[in-house]
Symmetry: C2
Subunit: 128 residues, 2 copies
């Protein structure tokens, strides 16, 4: 079976939504996108490859920082436009801000609270 | 603070992605979309309201089946285009197929396996 046939890339203009969930804690770490090639490469490599909309190219997550996402499980939703990736996040942080998860802004009683766990200093890791 | 200012609706043509995660088990139950009004109504009601792209209208989840999603927590990601909803799923099933989660198709070694937990018979619930 060609696994890309499970996905419907047409609704999202060639992209599906991809959710990275920590395989150990079930914490949602980040959400990004995949085109068909990114999905194929992810399955072949066993490490997550997204499609970067801002850069307009394939994005092997961790290619700069070394903090790759090791693939532990892949699930597809009922209508085929979302992929759920169960992963192990090397380095412990998925967010470009250096926090463990991108979902560090909690809304509570009309206020926003930063509940993020800072793992690394992005200025140290992304040396450009 | 107006909580809608945390979100960037412009990137998704007026919509953000919304992930519903079970507040007790951390299982990801479904992914849908919200426009600004859906997000506002969700916060006010304390029950999840999406924007249905197929129906072109607000969709108070559970309005037909009674299986509403009670809001337990709201998180916004680093770039403001995804909302994470921690919820309690009344009735135990979020998927229109009657399964607990929409992510019931597991990809493993080139094969797809249905790992879904069937909670209700959709033909009994959606009487049209």
């Amino acid at each position: 079976m060609d696994p890309t046939t499970l996905l419907d890339f047409s609704k999202g203009g060639g992209l599906v939504t991809a959710i990275a969930q920590d395989d150990a804690s079930s914490e949602i770490l980040m959400v990004a996108h995949m085109n068909e090639e990114a999905f194929r490469q992810t399955l072949v490599r066993g490490e997550v490859v997204y499609w970067s909309r801002s850069r307009g190219r394939l994005w092997h997550k961790g290619e700069e920082s070394g903090n790759v996402q090791k693939l532990k499980g892949v699930y597809v939703d009922c209508d085929g436009d979302v992929v759920l990736l169960r992963i192990e996040q090397v380095g412990g942080a998925a967010c470009h801000t250096g926090r463990r998860s991108c979902f560090f802004r909690k809304l509570e009683a009309g206020r926003v609270e930063d509940v993020g766990v800072q793992v690394f200093d992005p200025e140290q890791v992304y040396k450009r």
